[in-house]
């Protein structure tokens, strides 16, 4: 077994340079002197604040999935869709690969990410490690860049402009829910979830 020095040292992930860790002031970001990658930043959000953000994101996510995104109109006819409408349409149109990609990156992975974070933070709030803390933190790390809701918002914008040439386009509540979700994701992007490893939490009972 390797011996660990969790508090004292820090190694740059991008170039393997070793640093002595020091406490960061509010707003400070530690950068690697060799490769300029970010090492660590001051934790602006408390566990409570993060949990509040995740709960908000969960509510907005439900709305973004249930409500239609846009409605097209053509000589009296109307057509609208939700995210699952998109997934099923691609499956029916013999693009199952795309259907699975859309379902995982826009539905299952974001859902998984929010559930894991909610679960871990809920227990961290009480000063405890959630049951399954270690494997769940590893899964969270592996999810990495595979949640793409923010790309979908831009995609919806492009689709609206393309459709606008031929149809009457009405933006539905779903697109606003997606926009709000993107905003929350952007706020959360600055959070280093590794801080949960360092929090002094009691092991799960």
């Amino acid at each position: 077994m390797g011996k660990a020095f969790p508090e004292k040292l820090l190694i740059c992930e991008h170039c393997d340079t070793v640093y002595r860790r020091r406490v960061l002031e509010r707003g400070e970001v530690a950068r690697c002197a060799l490769c300029a990658a970010e090492l660590e930043r001051y934790h602006l959000l408390s566990v409570n604040a993060m949990l509040a953000l995740i709960l908000t994101a969960a509510i907005v996510f439900v709305q973004a999935n249930l409500w239609p995104i846009v409605t097209l109109g053509l000589s009296g006819q109307h057509s609208s869709t939700t995210l699952w409408g998109v997934i099923l349409a691609m499956w029916r149109e013999h693009s199952q690969v795309v259907s699975v990609l859309v379902a995982t990156t826009l539905f299952f992975f974001p859902l998984l990410k929010m559930s894991l974070l909610g679960w871990l933070l809920w227990f961290a709030r009480g000063g405890r490690r959630a049951p399954g803390f270690v494997p769940l933190m590893v899964i969270l790390h592996r999810l990495g860049p595979w949640t793409m809701s923010e790309v979908f918002v831009l995609g919806a914008l492009v689709a609206i402009v393309k459709a606008h040439t031929y149809f009457d386009v009405t933006a539905d509540p779903g697109i606003y829910a997606y926009a709000a979700l993107t905003l929350l994701i952007t706020i959360f992007a600055g959070v280093d979830l590794r801080q949960l490893w360092d929090e002094d939490l009691e092991p799960a009972a």
Binding site: P6, C15, A37, V102, V138, G155
Partner: protein, 217 residues
């Protein structure tokens, strides 16, 4: 830059999953991802500790070449068919960008062009440069190459844009025979290109940029 100690020199190793700094067991210096199963587990998160990502060069090359092979049909084949009563129109990625430009939204056309053409091409070029220079242990422009890698990681997944556009239009435009949008095989190849390039950049180990024998200056 010799003043900065590197983990390998100090006999330390960082867990890539949880960031924990660990000391090598004395005598266990073969943590080099050489395929020999002599790796140890992180005491905190139980992930395998490795000095470098395993077979980084070979895996990244393989994924990058596979992605490039997918990128050819993705551009040549049409990605979307728009059909109306008297007209069937097959769109490739490029013709979609041109149409968007003509339809009066040059700004969005530039965004789509960037996401669908510039970003994938940049990824192919950047990763090839990173692979070749790191394999040669080159000391050339290390800081810039490190930054280039982080840029590729940051923007890579935005290429999925066009796939989502086609998917959304397919679901939306269903007015019986009057007007229909169907996905065509190009979009599948394009989706696979994006996924493969993401895997390629994930399997490249940026620490290899700094591993060469040459010194910086």
């Amino acid at each position: 830059m010799s003043a900065l100690p590197r983990a390998a020199e100090l006999g330390l190793i960082a867990c890539t999953v949880c960031g924990l700094v660990c000391r090598n067991v004395p005598g266990d210096a073969q943590l080099d991802g050489d395929g020999v199963d002599d790796a140890m587990a992180c005491p905190r998160c139980a992930s395998t500790l490795r000095r470098r990502k395993p077979d980084s060069f070979a895996r990244t090359w393989a994924l990058l070449i596979a992605a490039f092979l997918m990128y050819i049909p993705a551009n040549v084949l049409p990605i979307m068919r728009t059909a109306s009563l008297n007209d069937i129109d097959d769109n490739t990625i490029i013709s979609g960008v041109v149409e968007l430009w003509r339809a009066g939204s040059p700004n969005l056309a530039v965004i789509v062009f960037t996401a669908s053409i510039v970003v994938p091409v940049l990824k192919f070029l950047a990763l090839s440069v990173l692979l070749v220079s790191s394999q040669r242990g080159s000391g050339w422009a290390r800081l810039q190459r490190a930054k280039l890698y982080r840029l590729v990681e940051l923007i890579g997944y935005w290429s999925m844009l066009d796939v989502f556009v086609v998917a959304l239009l397919t679901a939306l435009v269903r007015f019986s025979v009057l007007s229909l949008v169907e996905p065509l095989p190009g979009v599948i190849f394009f989706g696979l290109t994006v996924v493969l390039t993401m895997f390629a950049s994930m399997s490249f180990d940026p620490r290899l940029i700094w591993d060469g024998k040459d010194s910086d200056d």
